[in-house]
């Protein structure tokens, strides 16, 4: 077990980066960026996990009766999931603009247009 979650997070991040670099379609590239984002969530939550613990939400358990996991990383991840989605939307809006201006969403074709 030990480091498996961290390695999975690293794998997801690298896979997303590979997709970003080789993408032939900007919409696909935005999707790959979303994959990269999810790697950070996995890493943060893995850092905060504690064996045999439960969530630090005391609406249905007595405080102190069970060990709890780290809430700080959860709070960081929680806000980022929603904010990340709106940033994805912003990037997609940029893609729509690019397609209007240049008539293509292939990054290779775009660099040919400019150069």
């Amino acid at each position: 077990m030990g480091v498996l979650p961290y390695l999975v997070a690293a794998w997801i991040f690298l896979a997303g980066c590979y997709g970003l670099a080789t993408s032939r379609n900007l919409i696909h590239a935005v999707g790959c960026l979303a994959v990269c984002q999810s790697a950070t969530y996995v890493l943060l939550l893995a850092v905060g996990y504690r064996d045999h613990a439960t969530a630090p939400v005391f609406s249905d358990v007595q405080p102190g009766s069970r060990p709890v996991v780290d809430p700080v990383v959860q709070a960081l991840t929680l806000t980022d999931v929603v904010v990340g989605a709106t940033v994805t939307a912003l990037l997609l809006a940029l893609v729509v603009q690019v397609s209007k201006r240049h008539g293509t969403v292939d990054p290779d074709a775009l660099s040919e247009l400019r150069g």
Binding site: T54, A55, V57
Partner: protein
Amino acid sequence: MNGWILAATVALGTGLGTALWGVATGPLRRRVVAQNMSTALACPALLLLSQGYARPSYVDLALVLALLGPVGTLVFARLLADDLADDPPRAWGVTWVVAGFGAVVVGAVCAATGPSPEMVKLLVIGALLIGGNVLASRALSGGFPGAGRG
């Protein structure tokens, strides 16, 4: 690890594994069905996990998934209607098997909870899950008959 979590592990490993295979390969009609199955399987699994961890408050996740899972499938059914119209998915067998699994899980969790307000919530989730899942399958196989115009 108790029986609930073991059941969830098996359901997730086999069910979601199969759904992933379905969504990664094959024609579009198979992929959308697999996407629908993934939400319909994850929702009972979340109920099992909630019971296994003895945390009734985790049930909220299953409630939200039971509501939004079919909405997600409707998104695909609506916006991919043009592509699906030529080759509509016909997967009622899988749909009913997964719906039956959901019903069994809801029943088991209800039996373990006993009569209480929580049980009402579980029954609502069960109804939303099965109704939404079946309806989403219906929407995929020709829910938007005027495809290609809007």
